[in-house]
Every structure is written in structure tokens, then in C-alpha cells.
């Protein structure tokens, strides 16, 4: 079974530029998550989708971050414009069950973003 795919794996941009990350979850997984992990910290949930609807985006900085999952499958996370403090690893995860918190999240390898 293929895992969660993310691209690119690494990205270096200058502040005020825009960047987009792509995630393809495990086939059949209804729930998709985007996390931000700053070096030395635990992952912080940015947004959670169930199929193509947003379940939770309370920690997403909506003035600069946006995410979509138009067909309920793959997803894109965008930052526009980027700030220095956005340097982090952006992790995508997916899970099977759409109705319960008691399921396992499968994480992708992450995209390491460096903002100069």
C-alpha cells in the first residue's frame, strides 16, 4: 500500500515570496491533515479536512495561509507571502475513519521550507 506522498521535499524561498505544497493521501482515506513542525517542537495542526470539507482550521493563519482539497483526494497548502517564521517542516497526514478520533494518522515525509 502506497503511503502519503508529499512534494516538494525541500523548498528554499525568500521572504514575501509565495510557495505551495502538495499532498496525496492514502487511497480511500477520508480525512486529511496539514501540520506545521518547527524545529525542536511537536507538530501543530493547521487544518483538517474531511473529504473536501474543513473540519478545523482554527490555527491556520488565514491572512497568509490557504489550503484546499477540491475533489476530496489530494490537497494543496499555500503560503502567500512567506515570512521568516514560516520556516518549518510541513507535514501532511491522512486517516481512514471520517467519524471518530480513534483512528491512526499516517504521515508523509514532509516538506522542509526555509525562508530567507
Amino acid at each position: 500500500e502506497a503511503g502519503v506522498a508529499q512534494s516538494p521535499r525541500y523548498k528554499i524561498i525568500e521572504k514575501r515570496q509565495s510557495v505551495a505544497f502538495w499532498c496525496n493521501p492514502i487511497s480511500g482515506h477520508a480525512t486529511l491533515y496539514w501540520y506545521q513542525q518547527i524545529l525542536g517542537q511537536g507538530p501543530k495542526l493547521l487544518i483538517q479536512f474531511q473529504n473536501n470539507g474543513v473540519v478545523d482550521d482554527s490555527q491556520l493563519p488565514k491572512d497568509r495561509f490557504s489550503a484546499e482539497r477540491l475533489k476530496g483526494v489530494d490537497s494543496t497548502l499555500k503560503i502567500q507571502p512567506a515570512k521568516l517564521e514560516d520556516s518549518a517542516v510541513y507535514l501532511c497526514a491522512s486517516s481512514l475513519s471520517p467519524t471518530s478520533g480513534r483512528d491512526e494518522q499516517f504521515f508523509g515525509p514532509g516538506t522542509r521550507l526555509t525562508v530567507l
Binding site: Q41, L45, V55, D56, G101, E104, P109
Partner: protein, 112 residues
């Protein structure tokens, strides 16, 4: 919102049992407790999940007291490859606004 607190780091030796405790005083009724393992440059990997009492699988056990305000991950007979960061996650992914909260993680170092 359920916030978690874990020890920042722990050291152990190969073959020993390791117990990592997570405190989550504000856990909600619908919240589950999940533990993940993370190696450098990789995404977290699921270890075990539970709601109450004790859960055991092939790699770990999870002990949850009746008040559910803490939980303990038990790793039997650790090896060098168990050196990683371990995260305690509390939440219910179905309810909007009940955020899935990772703790700061516990950095486990297993020595030969």
C-alpha cells in the same frame, strides 16, 4: 483544549523497560490518547491508541488511569533503534474545534 505535558528527555539502556508519562488534565470526554514515534527527517509514526484502562500491542503498552488525566507509554526491552522523539496526542478528530494537540515530545536516548 486538552494540553499535554511530557518530560523533555529520557535516557535508557538497551534491554530496559521505558515508561514515558503524559499529563493531560483537561482531556475531554470524547478524546482519545494516541502516541506517535518520530525519527529525524521523517513524519511521526503511530504506536498505540487508547481511551481508558490498558491497551497492548506488539510494540508497546498504554496505561490510562480511571480519571484519564495522564497516560503512560511503556516500551518493553528497548533497543538502540528506539531512540526517537515520542509524542502524546490527545483529541477527537471528528469534532470541529477540538484540536488535535501534540505535546512537546519526549526525546528518548537508548544507550548500549
Amino acid at each position: 483544549l486538552a494540553k499535554t505535558t511530557q518530560p523533555i528527555s529520557m535516557d535508557s539502556y538497551e534491554g530496559q523497560e521505558v515508561n514515558i508519562t503524559c499529563s493531560h488534565n483537561n482531556i475531554a470526554t470524547n478524546d482519545y490518547i494516541t502516541w506517535y514515534q518520530q525519527f529525524p527527517s521523517q513524519g511521526p509514526r503511530f504506536i498505540i491508541q487508547g481511551y481508558k484502562t490498558k491497551v497492548t500491542n506488539e510494540v508497546a503498552s498504554l496505561f490510562i488511569p480511571a480519571d484519564r488525566k495522564s497516560s503512560t507509554l511503556s516500551l518493553p526491552r528497548v533497543s538502540l533503534s528506539d531512540t526517537a522523539v515520542y509524542y502524546c496526542l490527545v483529541g477527537d478528530s471528528f469534532n470541529a474545534g477540538n484540536m488535535l494537540t501534540f505535546g512537546g515530545g519526549t526525546r528518548l536516548m537508548v544507550k548500549p
